[in-house]
Structures are given as structure tokens and as C-alpha cells.
């Protein structure tokens, strides 16, 4: 290789490198953005996620961790750093109660932020209300998360997400969607409930629906798919975490179903690793709901989220809807704390401050509306839209929006 070619090669590599990083080029901005590390007395904030168990359900907590690291490197809360303690509940209600007690009673956390768990809401409702602590969860999953006094998730939940996903398929293929099957894990207050909106909606449209729940510990996905097909559905919504959805899609591929039935799913499947995991067979054949903006939307908030994750998170941390939710939860909390007198921050003042935050109040208003209008699934629908999942594998530019915006 000549010197000229070498220089040209280095130049091209640098150019391509810059082109590749333009989407993430923005500097991470957090809190007061002073660029100076906070070194005052730490403010303890906790978080509960499910790392070990049937699936790793922690990306919201990881994003909150990254945001608080960024905040601490940029002045913290008026000079006081956040000591963020993330605990794993292992999908186990008893363990969830133990870690909640540890964070709230032993560590004296002023708030819990970025929670993401299948069991946290049900197991810890009592302690949250008794101790007067506010939880700004990244992701609420079971029904309990959306009907609690001190619990404000940033997402709309699997019920709304499943319903939106099915509605989108019905709108894309008008008049052709009459029968819906929704698959969910048989977790109390989650499985049936998460599918009930989609099934209620299709019945209201004159169609029919069926809910299939299965044990997350079960290995036999083919039987679940065969049971779904016995209903002769037009749409199958796979309302599970991504790890549990992979074998269901594998079993459906084995039966050659992609061309016979429309497959869709809630926001839990909006994950960059997911299209690769289910394989090329599904390219362009699965629509998945997303609750926040598309990861490659390029808006200032999305760019900052990616910049924070790149600089303060791990390369292995997912960049998915739930990561966005964790970032949002941490940011809402930081905004609230920054408005307070740093010397007077305690649990009572933080709970009050968070309850008065516009975003949190709006969440409570939304949930109050959801409670009143539960029968009308369409009214619950919110969020920016639905993406066709298969394209994600090939790069962010390939994400195609086919739903509402």
C-alpha cells in the first residue's frame, strides 16, 4: 500500500467514524451542567429492578444510573451528589420487599427512581404508602403500578401498549382483523389484565379475542403457539418481555406463521437486540408499539439520552424504550431536586416536591382518566406510535413508523 493510499484510508476511516457518531455527537447535559463534580453530602436515592429471573428487566435502572452519574459530574444537586443504589428483586416478591425495606428504612432513601419490576408494585405498595416515599418508576408493569398513591411510572403500561399494537395492525389492514390472540405470562395482576384492553377493543369492533397465559418458567413455546393458532387468529400479540418472546417467535417461525398471521407486541419488544434475536425471517413482519420517541428520532432529548448512555452508561446497557423511561424518571427527579434548597432535602420534602412536579401530576391525571374510562381502550391510547420491528436490526435509519405520530 502506498503512503498516499494509507493517508486516504486514514482520512476515510476518520470521516466514516465521524459520520457514524453524528447521532450521538451531542455532549451529555445533566442538571445544572456545570462540568464540575459534586462533592457535598450525598443524597440517597434507591431503585428496584429485576435482573435475575426469567428475563433481565433492568434497563430502566441502568439508564437512571447513567443519568445520575452524569448529574454528579455536572454539579449534582446544588453541590450534593446523588448516591443511587440499584437493587435486584429477582422477580421474587419477598426479595422485593426485603430490598425495599433496605433502601427505605436502612439506607434512608429520599425517593425511589427508575424502578422496573414485575413484582415491586404488588409487594411494596404498603411500605411506600406507610413510609411516605414517592416512587418515580421507569416502567410500571402489573396493574398495581397504575393505581397507587405514591407510584408514578413514566410509561402507560402493557395494557395500553398491547391495545395500541393491535389497533395499529387493525388500522393497517382495514376490515381484515377480526380475531385476536394475546399471549402473556401468567403473573397475577399482569397476564390477563395486560391483554384485556386489546381483547375488549376487538370485541367492541365486532370481532373476537382470546387471552393465553403461560408459565414464564415453561420451556415449551410450540404448545403456546399451537394453542394460539387453534383460535384461528388474524393477529397474535406477544405481550411478554423480550427474552420470553424469542422462543414464541421461534416456534411461530417453525410453523411458518409469518405469512398466515400478523404478529405484534407491546413496548417490551422495542429493543435493538430483539430483531437480531428473532432472525431475518421476521424482517418487516412484526409491528411493535413504542411508548416514547423512536431511539433514532434525533430530537434534542433523544440525543441527550443517547449521549448520557454513551458517556456514563455501559456499552452493554440497552438503548430501548425502557432505557428512555429510566432516563426520564431520573431527569424528572433531578429537575425537582434542583428547585429545592439543597440543605433541606429530606424524604418528606422530596415526596411533596415530586408530587407537585408537572410531569408527575400529569401522570396521576392520566391514570385518573384511565380509571374512569377503562371501558374505552381507544381513549387510553397515547404515545408517539408504532414501529415495524424487523428493520431495527439493520441500523437505526431503517426504523419505519407505520402508526400514528
Amino acid at each position: 500500500m502506498t503512503l498516499r493510499n494509507t493517508i486516504l484510508g486514514i482520512f476515510m476511516a476518520a470521516l466514516l467514524g465521524c459520520a457514524g457518531c453524528t447521532a450521538h455527537a451531542a455532549d451529555a447535559k445533566c442538571g445544572a451542567n456545570t462540568g464540575k463534580a459534586a462533592n457535598g453530602e450525598p443524597i440517597v436515592i434507591g431503585g428496584i429492578v429485576s435482573v435475575t429471573g426469567p428475563d433481565n428487566f433492568s434497563s430502566s435502572g441502568l439508564a437512571a444510573t447513567a443519568y445520575f452519574k452524569c448529574l454528579n459530574a455536572n454539579g449534582g444537586v446544588n453541590g450534593r451528589p446523588i448516591k443511587y443504589q440499584l437493587e435486584d428483586d429477582g422477580w421474587n416478591p419477598e426479595q422485593s420487599s426485603q430490598v425495599a425495606a433496605k433502601l427505605i428504612r436502612d439506607q434512608k432513601a429520599v425517593a425511589l427512581v427508575g424502578n422496573m419490576s414485575f413484582v415491586d408494585c404488588g409487594a411494596n405498595q404498603g411500605i411506600y404508602e406507610k413510609e411516605g416515599i414517592m416512587v418515580i418508576a421507569g416502567v410500571g408493569v402489573p396493574r398495581d403500578c397504575f393505581f397507587q398513591k405514591n407510584y408514578a411510572p413514566t410509561n402507560a403500561g402493557p395494557r395500553v401498549s398491547n391495545t395500541k399494537a393491535v389497533m395499529d395492525v387493525a388500522q393497517t389492514y382495514p376490515g381484515k382483523i377480526k380475531r385476536v390472540v394475546c399471549i402473556a405470562p401468567n403473573i397475577p395482576n399482569l397476564g390477563e389484565w395486560s391483554c384485556s384492553g386489546a381483547v375488549a377493543w376487538i370485541k367492541k369492533q365486532g370481532g373476537d379475542g382470546k387471552i393465553i397465559t403461560f408459565d414464564p418458567g415453561s420451556l415449551d413455546a410450540t404448545s403456546v403457539v399451537l394453542e394460539a393458532m387453534a383460535f384461528k387468529p388474524d393477529v397474535i400479540s406477544v405481550g411478554t418481555p423480550k427474552g420470553l418472546a424469542v422462543p414464541i417467535f421461534a416456534a411461530a417461525e417453525e410453523q411458518g406463521l409469518a405469512d398466515k398471521v400478523h404478529f405484534t407486541g407491546p413496548a417490551s419488544l422495542y429493543n435493538p437486540d430483539f430483531p437480531r434475536a428473532i432472525g431475518k425471517y421476521w424482517d418487516g413482519k412484526v409491528t411493535v408499539d413504542m411508548e416514547l420517541k423512536a431511539a433514532d428520532a434525533g430530537t434534542p432529548d433523544m440525543q441527550n439520552w443517547l449521549a448520557v448512555m454513551d458517556k456514563y452508561g455501559q456499552a452493554s446497557d440497552p438503548r430501548d424504550t425502557f432505557s428512555q423511561a429510566g432516563y426520564l424518571a431520573a431527569r424528572v427527579t433531578a429537575e425537582t431536586l434542583l428547585k429545592m434548597d439543597a440543605a433541606k432535602i429530606d424524604r418528606k420534602s422530596v415526596t411533596q416536591g415530586l408530587a407537585e412536579h408537572q410531569a408527575v401530576r400529569k401522570r396521576h391525571v392520566v391514570f385518573a382518566l384511565v380509571r374512569r374510562r377503562r371501558s374505552s381502550s381507544q381513549r387510553q391510547s397515547r404515545g408517539p406510535g408504532v414501529v415495524r420491528q424487523g428493520r431495527q436490526a439493520r441500523g437505526k435509519a431503517g426504523v419505519r413508523r407505520v402508526g400514528r405520530s
Binding site: V51, D215, G217, D220, S223, L226, E227, G243, A277
Partner: protein, 287 residues
């Protein structure tokens, strides 16, 4: 009345993987007197090694062989290094030691590979034929064939080979066999290698047919143990029957309302039922 035929067909392949693991557990128990709770975790390791090799661009065929070999190696190392030191301990202690080994392997796999969504694929996944309204991939057919083949091979090995004879001698009386010149450590090692091989094949097949997840595959040992209980940890034909019955019953319960979502309890019911059945004579004697 739901049509059970498709569920019967789909359940047979899963049942075959239970059979493979169950046979491995029984062979090891007969030779070394250890109930191996790490059978599932060793299988999971085989699946992850295979997946990693394919991910790095390695040839799939060699990746499965390497995965199964890794499982046999890990099992052999445990059998050679740790198991002999516990050989004269309480049977429960030896069983619990394998449970610890399973948890160590599970932790290792969690650390190295995590729980990201992934899938292990075999080329036989794309070849299929239709049977009773269900599309059967060659992988499923191979799983079933291997289940039958491996059981037959192990039975012949135990019945006719010299090492098989020594294994049976050890199972009958360990001390006496040692005094008669049976090289206990060597025969034990063979049992661990066979158990590791069966665990590896079962793990790779389960990861392809069901889910590549350390947790799920590690706890796939439960139906295999239930199958072994069915065979009293002695009888290979009864273990095969138990494994097939558990896998098929699990699948057949799927379309039944109310019970379907809880069908994973089938292995426990089978194990409890088998134990009660085995104890019936004792009850009769004491009456």
C-alpha cells in the same frame, strides 16, 4: 373438545430432551451414586459455548461439537476434582454439592453472557415435514431420534462393555468392587463424561427448540430429575417412559382451560406420584 394431536406431536421432542437428561442422571447415579442437579446447567453451558462460536463466525457443525465437548469437559473436571473428595460423604451432601456447582455455573453464565435475548439456530431448523397438521423440523425429529438412540446405546454400553460392567459393579457395592480391582476413579470419570455428553446434547437441543437462557436451561433439570425418580434412579426404560410421559403430558395440558397455564407443575406431580407409588409396599408392610 380441543384437538390434542398437534400438542402430542410437539410434546414428543421436548420429552426427548427430558429423556436425554434423565438418562444422564440415572447413569451417573448408578455408577457414582450422585444425583446430579447440575445436569441442566452443564447443558446450558454447552448451548452458550455453541452460540458464542457461531456468533464469532465459526462453523455451526463444529460449534455444537465444541459445546457438547465443553459440557463433557466441565462434567469430567467436576467428577475428577471435586466429586472424589465427597465420595464417602452423605448422599444428600453429594447431591447438594452438585446443586452448588449448578449455581456457580449459572452465575458464571450470567456474568459472561447475561440474559440478552438470543437464539441458537441449527441448519436442521429450516428442514421440515408435516405430521398430523403440525410442521415438524428436522431438529425435533433428530431430538426424538437421539433420545431413543442414546438410551439404547447407554443400555448396551452398560450391558456389554467392560466399563459398563464395572459401573454396574460399583453401583452394586463400591468398596467390594474397589477391592476386586475396579479402578473406581476411572470408572467414575467415565460416568461423569457420559453424563456431561448427554447434558450437552440435551442443552443444545433445548436451546434451539425452546429458549437460550441460562436460568431456563439450568432449571430444565427438574423434569429430568422427575423422570429419573420415575425410574427410581435405576431403571433406564422407566426413566425413558417417565421423561416421555412428563413432556407429552405438559404439552397435552396446554389447551385445557384453567389447568393449561399451570402445566409446568406436571414434573412435580409425576415425581410425587412416583414416590408415593414406590412407597406403597412399605405402607402395606407396616399395616
Amino acid at each position: 373438545m380441543p384437538d390434542f394431536t398437534p400438542f402430542l406431536v410437539s410434546g414428543l421432542a421436548t420429552a426427548a430432551t427430558y429423556v436425554l437428561s434423565g438418562v444422564g442422571i440415572v447413569v451417573l447415579y448408578r455408577a457414582a451414586g450422585v444425583v446430579n442437579f447440575a445436569q441442566g446447567a452443564v447443558g446450558a453451558l454447552a448451548a452458550f459455548v455453541s452460540w458464542s462460536i457461531v456468533e464469532c463466525g465459526g462453523p455451526p457443525g463444529w460449534s455444537w461439537i465444541a459445546g457438547v465437548a465443553a459440557a463433557a469437559l466441565v462434567s469430567f473436571l467436576y467428577g475428577r476434582v471435586i466429586a472424589p473428595r465427597l465420595a464417602y460423604g452423605d448422599p444428600i451432601m453429594r447431591a447438594v454439592a452438585t446443586l452448588s456447582f449448578a449455581l456457580i455455573l449459572l452465575g458464571f453464565m450470567g456474568y459472561v453472557w447475561g440474559e440478552a435475548p438470543r437464539r441458537l439456530r441449527l441448519p436442521t431448523d429450516t428442514m421440515s415435514f408435516e405430521l398430523l397438521g403440525v410442521r415438524i423440523t428436522m431438529t425435533r425429529a433428530i431430538a426424538f431420534g437421539l433420545g431413543v438412540l442414546a438410551t439404547t446405546a447407554v443400555m448396551l454400553f452398560l450391558a456389554y462393555s467392560r466399563v459398563g460392567l464395572q459401573m454396574r459393579a460399583l453401583a452394586s457395592n463400591r468398596d467390594l468392587s474397589a477391592m476386586l480391582g475396579v479402578r473406581v476413579l476411572r470408572v467414575d470419570s467415565w460416568a461423569w463424561v457420559i453424563s456431561g455428553l448427554l447434558a450437552g446434547v440435551s442443552g443444545v437441543l433445548l436451546a434451539d427448540l425452546q429458549r437460550l437462557s441460562g436460568q431456563a436451561l439450568t432449571f430444565a433439570v427438574i423434569p429430568a430429575i422427575a423422570a429419573a425418580v420415575f425410574g427410581r434412579f435405576v431403571s433406564l426404560p422407566a426413566t425413558v417412559a417417565g421423561g416421555l410421559a412428563i413432556g407429552v403430558c405438559e404439552a397435552l395440558l396446554t389447551p385445557i382451560p384453567v389447568i393449561g397455564p399451570f402445566r409446568t407443575a406436571v414434573p412435580f406431580l409425576f415425581a410425587v406420584g412416583a414416590m408415593l407409588w414406590m412407597q406403597r409396599r412399605v405402607t402395606f408392610v407396616y399395616r
